[in-house]
Structures are given as structure tokens and as C-alpha cells.
């Protein structure tokens, strides 16, 4: 299960809305081993595409260096689908390289009447996708 604060949930949704019709992407980092998402880091979609996202390579290096220095890990890796449901595509599964992360997918398909708004979370481990519940809290216990 993914437990996330209302404030972080809202920031992910705002980012996805702001970048629509392009896919938005980013990370919520947290202290290593805690599984607690804390630091919201929106990333630039270097692909600037409605059907694809990729973190800019220089930004990616900076992000991982920074997390390393702060003893953080990517607790959530999020991106949006802009015209389809919030379920990992074959591409998402192929490039999922953080088995410990929650992969959050947001669908902004409702913007153009192409579907429902969705906020869903998954783990993706060696190609196996497992959906999990999302629990939104005011603050972490």
C-alpha cells in the first residue's frame, strides 16, 4: 500500500494537470528504508510528448546525486497518461528499474473527455505489475 499526504497527492495531480496534454513525470523522495514519500521533485519530460516521458539525462544525474547525499531514495516515481487509463503500459514495464518504488500513474484523460481521472499506484518488479491501494492521509503517523 502507498501512504501519501494530501499535500503531496495534490502536487502530483497539479503537475499532471499543468503539463497536459504532455505527459508529466517526477519523483517523491524519502529517507532510505522508510518507504515514506516526503520530498516532491517534479522533473522535466525531456521527450515533451503526449505519449512518452523520459527524465532529462543531466537532471537525472543531479537527482540521484542529491538523493545519495541526503540518504534518500525514490519512494514514488510518477507520470501521467493523458488519453488512456492509469495503468502501466508495456513501455512503462520495460523501463521500470526501481523495484523498491511505488509507480504512481495519473490519468488526465478526463480533461478531453477521453476517460476518468485516475490516481493509481503499482509496484513493478522484474516485469510483474502489482496494483496497490493508495491511502491519502493529512500527515504521517
Amino acid at each position: 500500500m502507498l501512504t501519501i499526504t494530501r499535500a503531496l497527492y495534490d502536487r502530483i495531480v497539479e503537475h499532471a494537470r499543468a503539463d497536459h496534454p504532455d505527459e508529466a513525470c517526477g519523483v517523491v523522495a524519502g529517507p532510505v528504508g522508510t518507504g515514506r514519500p516526503e520530498r516532491f521533485i517534479p522533473m522535466l519530460n525531456a521527450a515533451r510528448s503526449p505519449t512518452f516521458y523520459e527524465f532529462d539525462s543531466a537532471d537525472l544525474l543531479k537527482l540521484y546525486r542529491e538523493m545519495d547525499d541526503r540518504d534518500e531514495e525514490p519512494v514514488i516515481i510518477y507520470h501521467s497518461h493523458t488519453a488512456t487509463e492509469a495503468y502501466p503500459s508495456r513501455t512503462d514495464i520495460t523501463y521500470a528499474n526501481e523495484p523498491g518504488a511505488h509507480y504512481v500513474l495519473v490519468s488526465t484523460a478526463d480533461t478531453d473527455g477521453a476517460g476518468d481521472f485516475q490516481f493509481r499506484s503499482y509496484t513493478i518488479v522484474e516485469g510483474v505489475v502489482t496494483e496497490e491501494d493508495v491511502k491519502v492521509v493529512e500527515e504521517y503517523a
Binding site: E23, C25, V27, M43, A47, S49, P50, T51, F52, Y53, E54, F55, S57, A58, L60, L61, Y64, E73, I77, H79, H81, T82, A83, T84, P88, S89, R90, T91, D92, T94, Y95, A96, N97, E98, P99, G100
Partner: protein, 92 residues
């Protein structure tokens, strides 16, 4: 010639969990071949058909090697190489 290589989480199964290992070689290609001798299987995760895999980013010090000479990028003693899988995906 010692070069520090920083290993991403997903590839640490090849390095006994180590975040960084040392290797040697005059180019990236030679470095990955050298790593392969001690960390069997790692080379194929980075290199495919003599080229860097599209969705694996390799940095020499702070520079993405795609903007240098790719897998033929020359290395010198004391360099630091970082491997990071791309964070990518999409709806298709």
C-alpha cells in the same frame, strides 16, 4: 588504471550489493569488459551489439557520454563513471 564506477540499485545484484566498484580500461568499452570479468552479466545490461543501450545513461564525471564519444569515450586514471537507467515510459 583505477576508475570508480557507480552502480545503480538495479545492477547491484552483480556487485554483491556494492554501490561503487573499481575497474580499468582506456575506453568505456574496455572498462565494461573489465567489469564483466568480476561481475558476470553486468556488461550485457549496459551494452548491446557494441553500443550503449538506449535506456541506460552513462556519465563520465558529470557528462552524459552520448555527448562525448559514447562507448568509445576515453578514460583516464581517477575518472568516475556513473551508470543510471533512464526513467522513462509512456502510454504506448
Amino acid at each position: 588504471m583505477a576508475i570508480e564506477v557507480r552502480i545503480p540499485t538495479i545492477l547491484r545484484t552483480y556487485t554483491d550489493g556494492e554501490k561503487a566498484v573499481e575497474g580499468s580500461g582506456g575506453t568505456l568499452s574496455e572498462l565494461f569488459a573489465d567489469l564483466e570479468t568480476r561481475h558476470t552479466g553486468i556488461e550485457a545490461r549496459i551494452v548491446d551489439g557494441g553500443k550503449l543501450r538506449r535506456f541506460v545513461n552513462v556519465y563520465l564525471n558529470d557528462e552524459d557520454v552520448r555527448f562525448l564519444d559514447g562507448i568509445d569515450t576515453k578514460l583516464t586514471d581517477g575518472d568516475s563513471v556513473t551508470i543510471l537507467p533512464a526513467v522513462a515510459g509512456g502510454m504506448v
